[in-house]
Symmetry: C2
Subunit: 415 residues, 2 copies
């Protein structure tokens, strides 16, 4: 069943804000069995909103709109919906009570704009918003359901998860969708394709393979659509196994529906092993990533970001001689950082990063883009050298992926 | 002059990948004076791509497409362009040389799919891609320019910045656009609107005010379009000053074209002051953010992520008695963390976070969503208590913003 998403907001069109709402909605709709065929972002203008609604595909049965439901002048979605459906205004008592409740909590007096939040098109079913003053709106005509949600992510998520999805799932008999993503390393897109093309040719029509090239690696996504989720899972897994076999040593893990970080977290937790990090090159981003996982406190002991060179000595205890002899961006320093981190945190594994992300060479002679990763395991300490390119953001992102890959391979056998 | 962006890729429609390409392109096009009126994301299907190209607005003079130019079966953009323009294939020698060059570097033999990269529609001007094998393609008809770029961000960025924008800027006489974003705190969208609505009513038609509500704060963006950039800047600044005056103590800074982090970095650097952090609640994300800024090594000394409770003692030196007496999530622990961080890193300022992000209460009795922030300055150490909600991702994001807000206010007077 086809769905479309319409995002409303000038901030998205000038590149000020990333459209994370569309990602969230697309993921949730896909998970329950909708096929999102199009995502459109339009301006805060009545005409643009109505035009987008009028351009929805014929087969589309569901349209989710976000944004423009607020109380200010640039919030024009409600008016556009009213005009699109040739409807008239009514006041919704429950929405008004909700506005009063929220403002009571905030201890502010109600003003004219707050009352406007309770004014809704009469044809709309009103979805009460526990997290804000703007209610969601649900419209239907013979062909399609149109649901307008607020643009504030916290409010949109609450309404989508608690009110919209349960009703959609009950209403439609949606297919099951299962997917898994394989991480590869060391082969470009075309060589991977060469290696897999006969397998891809054999895939049944309800299973699709997609190549997702990214910094430092290509991911392969297999997605199957059908009726019985368990059967699909079995079928998908058999194809995944064939692909993995074909990849040989270029196989670097299965992402499944989890991220690589989540896979590492699960494995460390179930093996009762712990991890610590010291990050110069990655500046805290690895720790930030590892602590994203709920329950991180069972496997992630912590980290150090010794960004100034002398902090590597003062906080971590790396010997100043090593730094002076080999320079701060070197395999030797990465090794000592990993070792000292493992000692300080009394962890089973420790990861370190040191490198030069530019724009200047800083305290080292290393070329911009050079990075060293250290890995201390219960048995030994290894180092890895990489040259990751020249653009600051990209090379840090690549280094993070390299760390995850190294760590994943190391703990792959743990149980 | 109106522009549109068409993003191609199933991975965007199932929510597997965030559409950062569209954000980047939108930002760059806006910066040189285009007005991006629509962003459309469609499936890897010839029909969908052609339909999106056929639905471009009448006033649109530029369409930038990304994705689907690779060598694999799911890359269908080139074929769709060929059909849309009723064109025929030709082989581009330069593109072939480029493919050979890249594969020589990678020491792989060329395969059939690599040669396909050099096959292009004959009407297209070929944009040679230094960073990958898929060339960009530039088409024109009497009304509009269509530019197809690869979906790999690193490759897309290289072509857009080095080849596409310089030519567009030369070709068109584009208007100037200036914008600034004010950060507010402590007032919801409707109360802000109430406070500013008469000012908004006085704005000339070429200046637009937008409200951007987000976790914990509302931002206000003023954007002006006109001919002379310097004049616009002066005009915009006078409106900004009026708004700031009206906001009184709800004014929390100007973001300009920089992020709040960049503003803080600039101010610390110019005042020759340094910063260090210790993060439990935010798990490394603050350090990650501060090190995003090029030149961070001049003001950011580093950080500690003492995620396990006992690491707060062992790595940072927080007294176990304080933790036991007040619990690990407490103002007292936040205060001691900030102080010890300042000492250890010998920094001028230090920030600490401790809190409970859920899903379980962990080592403390604090409710999920409770967070304490400590701030050590050259003069004193302060603490702040927040209750930030219940959803892990959201509450950490809010805490990060609270820290930036606190730090910004503290260093606002520095010069």
């Amino acid at each position: 069943m086809k769905a479309e998403i319409i995002s409303i907001g000038d901030e998205l069109l000038i590149g000020q804000v990333i459209n994370t709402n569309a990602v969230f909605i697309a993921k949730q709709l896909t998970a329950v069995g909708f096929q999102v065929g199009k995502i459109v972002t339009v301006e805060d203008k009545g005409e643009s909103i109505k035009e987008a609604m009028g351009s929805v595909g014929e087969e589309t049965k569901l349209v989710v709109l976000t944004g423009g439901l607020g109380p200010t002048k640039d919030d024009l979605t409600k008016q556009a919906l009213l005009e699109f459906f040739k409807d008239e205004w009514t006041e919704n008592n429950e929405a008004l009570e909700n506005v009063k409740r929220i403002f009571k909590d905030n201890q502010h007096a109600l003003i004219e704009e707050n009352f406007l939040q309770a004014k809704v098109p009469s044809r709309a079913k009103v979805l009460q918003n526990e997290r804000g003053t703007a209610p969601g709106l649900w419209f239907e005509n013979e062909n399609c359901i149109y649901i307008a949600l607020p643009g504030v992510p916290f409010e949109m998520k609450g309404l989508l998860i608690k009110k919209v999805l349960p009703e959609l799932v009950q209403r439609f008999s949606l297919p099951s969708i299962v997917q898994k993503t394989i991480i590869t390393s060391g082969l470009g897109e075309s060589l991977l394709f060469e290696r897999l093309k006969d397998l891809e040719g054999q895939l049944p029509s309800h299973i699709k393979l997609a190549y997702l090239p990214g910094p430092g690696r290509v991911r392969l996504r297999l997605m199957a659509v059908g009726e019985d989720k368990d059967e699909l899972q079995v079928e998908l897994n058999s194809w995944i196994a064939k692909i993995i076999e074909r990849l040989e040593n270029h196989y670097a893990g299965v992402e499944g529906e989890d991220s690589l970080v989540a896979v590492i977290a699960t494995r460390l937790t179930s093996a009762k092993k712990t991890l610590a990090v010291s990050e110069s090159f990655t500046g805290g981003k690895l720790a930030g990533l590892f602590t994203t996982i709920p329950g991180a406190a069972t496997y992630f002991k912590g980290g150090v970001v010794p960004y100034y060179t002398e902090m590597k000595t003062e906080i971590l205890g790396v010997s100043p001689e090593t730094i002076q002899k080999y320079s701060v961006v070197s395999a030797e320093v990465a090794k000592e950082m990993a070792l000292k981190t493992k000692e300080k945190f009394e962890s089973d594994y420790a990861i370190s990063t040191t490198g030069n992300a530019g724009p200047t060479k800083g305290d080292s002679d290393a070329e911009i883009g050079t990075a060293y990763i250290g890995l201390a395991t219960p048995e030994e300490t290894k180092t890895y050298e990489f040259f990751l390119g020249e653009e600051r953001e990209e090379i840090v992102e690549r280094a993070i992926f390299k760390v995850l890959e190294i760590l994943y391979k190391e703990i792959y056998e743990l149980n």
